[in-house]
């Protein structure tokens, strides 16, 4: 057994001068993070470790670089925090694998990031998305229940709102009129979780509806490293700034917005990570059944505005190429984050400038993303050190 105080020791190797207050400490110790080697997952693991949690991360490397030796992203997480992560290469579709992990560790809470997430791909391969995202969730829920683990933080998305009926979007906004398959998998899971917590009061679940995650850890050591062809704005913009792509394609310049381009609520991935730690604290402290929170800044930023800020803080040029609107794209969407502030005590801290600076630091330090090998992992792979 590790000395429980170990969790309170501030790690002197940490790059971030993150001060851990005793009030940050929830009563849970061991958190299972699915999709822990991914973009949001790895940033969340940093915050969890620095807050004092012990983390078991799993990933099937569908969306993240890694192999049987482990994850380069989690290697970097350990570099940042000076702490160890227990890692399993595991797939939620393989229920026995998940069951074995729960047999081996006393998991007190799960943060479930793992999912396929490419909107365009989801429209072309709906069966793959339904199978992976729904079945992955159902397997996880079943294994959790059979191990008496009923605490869950679920990665939902603002896509569940569809085309907004009002702005900013509050959590009571209707859901269900969704324009893509990816979003439908998130919506279906939210509905399942509602039914589950209504039927069995042992469940204690928070669904976090992310707006548009961007940025990277301020160290530049971890960030977004898409393994598939990507169309997300910031990675694309950075590739253009690096000269790897000729121009940033902007879909639609005739939207009814101030400058004609689409408006989104970009949120720094470190703010998102902090939102998860806040959610964990909430479900460790009280029984809430199921609650849903927006994680956004509450500010809408247009594509052109984001490009302007990015060019200013990076000094790089991002030529634009305009194309027609994409079917299913939404004009403008931003969060009302009041509920998360009032109930979770969480608000976003990072500015748009920091989102751009931090993403750019990551990109310039790692122009080709992560090294393709975990580089002698010192994290514990498959439970064996």
């Amino acid at each position: 057994m590790q000395d429980p105080l170990h969790r309170y020791e501030f790690n002197s190797n940490s790059i971030l001068n993150h001060v851990v207050e005793p009030s940050d400490m929830a009563q849970f110790k061991t958190i299972l993070v699915t999709g822990g080697a991914g973009y949001i997952g790895s940033h969340c693991v940093v915050d969890l470790l620095e807050t004092g949690y012990e983390v078991i991360a799993i990933d099937n490397f569908a969306n993240a670089v890694g192999d049987d030796d482990g994850s380069p992203a989690l290697r970097r997480v350990e570099q940042i925090t000076g702490k160890k992560v227990v890692f399993y290469r595991a797939d939620l579709l393989n229920k026995e694998q998940i069951n074995d992990i729960f047999d081996k560790h006393r998991v007190e809470c799960v943060i479930h990031f793992a999912a396929l997430k490419a909107v365009g791909e989801s429209m072309m391969q709906p069966l793959l998305y339904y199978q992976n995202n729904l079945l992955g969730m159902l397997n996880l829920l079943e294994v959790m229940r059979s191990h008496n683990c009923f605490q869950l933080v679920f990665s939902s998305s603002c896509t569940v709102y569809g085309e907004p009926e009002w702005l900013p979007i509050t959590e009571v906004h209707p859901t269900g009129k969704i324009t893509n398959v990816y979003g439908r998998t998130k919506y279906f899971i939210e509905e399942m979780l509602k039914d589950l917590s209504a039927a069995d009061e042992r469940w204690n679940v928070i669904s976090l509806r992310y707006f548009n995650p961007v940025g990277a850890h301020p160290s530049g050591l971890i960030g977004e490293d898409p393994t598939k062809e990507f169309t997300n704005l910031m990675p694309f913009m950075a590739q253009v700034a690096l000269g790897k792509k000729p121009a940033l394609t902007v879909f639609g310049s005739d939207y009814p917005t101030p400058d004609g381009t689409g408006v989104r609520d970009y949120i720094h991935v470190m703010d998102l990570a902090a939102g998860h730690v806040a959610a964990l604290r909430m479900i460790s402290e009280k029984h809430i059944g199921l609650k849903v929170y927006n994680l956004g800044t509450g500010r809408g930023v247009s594509v052109k505005e984001l490009v302007t800020v990015f060019e200013r803080v990076t000094g790089a040029k991002v030529p634009l190429k305009y194309e027609a609107r994409r079917h299913g794209d939404i004009t403008a969407m931003w969060a009302d984050p009041t509920l998360a502030k009032e109930e979770l005590g969480w608000t976003s801290q990072y500015t748009v400038e920091e989102m751009c600076t931090d993403f750019w630091r990551w990109q310039t330090m790692n122009p080709d993303g992560y090294p393709k090998k975990a580089m002698k992992p010192n994290h514990i792979v498959n439970g064996n050190s």
Copy 2:
């Protein structure tokens, strides 16, 4: 190989004098019926066999009587039709089993009845319902695709409409505001099927939204034999008429309907079966992508009206016991069946009197339901005769 003409021979043992017209013959030969031993499934198999199809039925006996020797219901189906059914005891959650069946038979179309269907149970065990109904469908779709079988008739339900915004309900009525988990599984699957047929034009799918199936085959040999505690009106009413239960519980007598009781669109199960044969013909004749049809009579009948007719045609007494409305129950709902008439050439034929008479015949001939053994099945079990 069986002589293809075999399928055209009219079976002289048939109890129903069902005349098969050449125009009834679709170009498919082999139909896989999931949940084929169940209430609606077994009636549909009768119609399929009499129309000239070859049927492979599978069932896991979650909702139907049967064992490794086969299904008493399908034994009776063979008695009615003089034809053989190939039967497998198989579970859609076991993808390998389903795959083996598709390897063994050239399935040209699937009629997918198999699902858990008890509304009350679904609210108490949502995870079970989501796992069984969604995963069963996803497994089936994947196996179908891998065997180049893209023709599907899906059992949906009028529950997908939720509380009606207008009556009679047309297929364009909004879906998604559903009051129970069972209905949500049907709605989710419909959404998946829409996405699937939009993404891959090889799919050719009809989703049939059943209203309230009642009645039984006019022979009295097959009918509804619930294996679990049931609350469906007609089986309950028949139990009361048989003296097995003291009174019929009517939930709500203060609804804003002519006599204060809930109004539904009851449809004879033989009409429902004919609707499936009509749907099969449609998807064998043309490519439609995905279509949705109501299967109802277009007539709303109150609980009290149904009881009155039942008492008249059976001569039995059904004492009523009134209780409060059940949460989530709907006041009144009946179908607009115009679209099925125009496009499938299908309309309901059976009267409410016949629904009651036929159900009563089944109940009096089989007061304890099916014999608990298949009684030396002559149907082909697990593909072996």
